[in-house]
């Protein structure tokens, strides 16, 4: 084990990574790290544009509050506006292609737009099915049911992104969604041994590295656990709190279709006093409203 740990130490300058100056960083941020709108106007306003590339966004909330719907909406919107390929890692078999088709059908303004630098030529002449097919082929869904499978998938993704970078000068994948990373981490976290937390942090570091190097936006969902005295708090503990760049809490009242999103943590706001009025977004009618 000692040898393996020493092997990980960077031994040459080449492994150290390049250093950036402030202007390089600014150039990278303005050119590469755009916002991916989720299609839900309230949330986009709240987040200042949408899910940022290069950042890890976490959505947490009690059961049946709309987290999976949030993920499905983001995936459909990014695919429908032809911003890139969406990779959806599903742990609870909740990826519903029928629901994606319904959301995409309701997306306005698909034809004749210059979306994200890609000119849509001739799309207004194609029948509905062909359009839906071309959009839905950009959403890839894979089921992962344990944390090791997730690590493997992320590693394969890293390899393919590196490959893409060499050959095509940029990757096609824009958004990576892990619907319920907390259900993968719940079996190993807790107890008196810290190995579970080590696994969690290593997965988190891989996700952030992928986001930063390949300009992906990563969206993960988390669930809530009880915090004593009837209160609830996000799961995964104190070590996870520092991991996501942006954290949102969603709640839904019983019997209603209106979900409320509140920002728990955000890296881009530079005011001293933050006030985040909750924004509402309507889910099931297929429209986006505030």
């Amino acid at each position: 084990m000692e040898e393996r740990m020493n092997q990980d130490q960077p031994s040459t300058e080449g492994r150290c990574g390049r250093f950036w100056n402030g202007m390089d960083l600014l150039k990278d941020v303005t050119e590469n790290k755009h916002f991916l709108p989720t299609g839900l106007e309230g949330v986009d306003t709240l987040l200042g544009g949408g899910l940022r590339q290069g950042q890890l966004t976490e959505v947490t909330g009690p059961s049946s509050s709309g987290k999976t719907q949030f993920c499905l909406h983001s995936a459909s919107h990014v695919a429908a506006k032809h911003m890139g390929v969406v990779m959806y890692l599903d742990t609870s078999n909740s990826f519903s292609p029928g629901r994606i088709a319904t959301i995409i059908d309701g997306t306005p303004g698909l034809f004749g737009q210059r979306a994200y630098g890609v000119q849509l030529l001739g799309f207004d002449l194609q029948p509905k099915d062909v359009r839906l097919k071309s959009i839905m082929r950009n959403i890839i869904c894979e089921s992962v049911f344990d944390i090791f499978a997730l690590s493997e998938v992320l590693h394969q993704l890293e390899v393919s992104l590196l490959n893409d970078k060499e050959k095509n000068g940029g990757s096609r994948i824009r958004l990576l969604i892990i619907d319920s990373i907390s259900s993968l981490l719940a079996p190993i976290i807790g107890g008196k041994y810290p190995q579970g937390r080590a696994m969690m942090i290593s997965v988190a570091m891989t996700l952030k590295k992928l986001a930063d190097e390949h300009n992906l936006s990563v969206l993960v969902t988390n669930h809530m656990v009880s915090a004593g005295n009837g209160a609830v708090k996000p799961a995964l503990g104190e070590s996870w709190k520092a991991v996501p760049h942006v954290r949102l809490v969603i709640s839904r009242e019983r019997g209603s279709n209106m979900c409320t999103a509140t920002v728990l943590k955000h890296t881009l706001l530079y005011a001293a006093v933050f006030s985040f009025p909750p924004r509402w977004f309507l889910m099931y009618a297929g429209q986006q409203q505030q």
Partner: protein, 385 residues
Amino acid sequence: MVVMVLFAISAGPTGSSDLIFLLRTAPALPPRLLIRRPVSRRSSADRPRPASHRSSSAGSARSSGSCCSSSSAPPPPRRRRFLAGGSDAGRAVATRRVLDMGAGENNPLGAQNAWDMLSEEQSQKHITTGSGDLNGILGGGIHCKEVTEIGGVPGVGKTQLGIQLAINVQIPVEYGGLGGKAVYIDTEGSFMVERVYQIAEGCISDILEHFPHSHEKSSSGNKQLQPEHFLADIYYFRICSYAEQIAAINYLEKFLGEHKDVRIVIIDSVTFHFRQDFDDLALRTRVLSELSLKLMKIAKAYNLAVVLLNQVTTKFTEGSFQLTLALGDSWSHSCTNRVILYWNGTERYAYLDKSPSLPVASAPYAVTGKGVRDVSSNHKRVRVT
């Protein structure tokens, strides 16, 4: 990335029980799968180092894990291919797999694009519950490849619904059903065989009512519509402790590999053994999360429906005691769909609480001598709350 730390052997009573659930149920690999593919050496120098490092550590992790766990189905081939490739060949395979959707019949857990999944989803049949209203709020019935949790107070009809589903999954394909078998895991002992016989008879009489002439025309290869055949196709497991429950679910993967025509797995009261025997609630949460992931995997890999029946408990929220499903907040995230059965006056209602594609709704149903059926009244409407 260092993967092998989770397999450190530890002593102590709580340590060992933690260990059981930290270990992945890695299968015992046949020797030929561990041999690396012959790869060209020229590109290994510019390969990022963690890749080969990770493959060796994951390989050793698998072999160390296999000695301590029960066997399960052989791993999908894509994992072995990935571990063996440390070069351009491996990278090409990985690229092809991630972006070109390598899922299919032989690899149901692989990546697929949404369009292919849509066509698969539209061609899938649902398991009818016996009540038209209930089918309506569920989108046609219980979905395959999903885990559905059904909870309710005692006496509202959970076991009846479970037995009805075990019978309805066996309706032959020519009468609109799935023609599959059922696995019934009983933890409370509430599976009454005489009642199952009665429900099977009720189901057959309904089929004959709807398809009056096809019974005479059925070919000799078809299943005879006899209650005995329906009973014979239910695989029944009686579980008496939480350890047996965990073992049964671990065994299910192997069992389902041998019996490929099982289309539904019903666990009657997944909560029962976890409510009284566990002092350590954190351990219970970990065990249950692992259990639910396994059930999700079984549902997806073998294309069947998993139905979990759950009990209720009281919770003190917002100043009053309310009924919620047992097993805590973290278990509520472990299912794909959730249906809550409740009493409204003298009628039984079902409320769809959680679903990825359907809105919340409630519908009445009745438990009759023939099983779960619609409420036979003139005011049959689905109330959307």
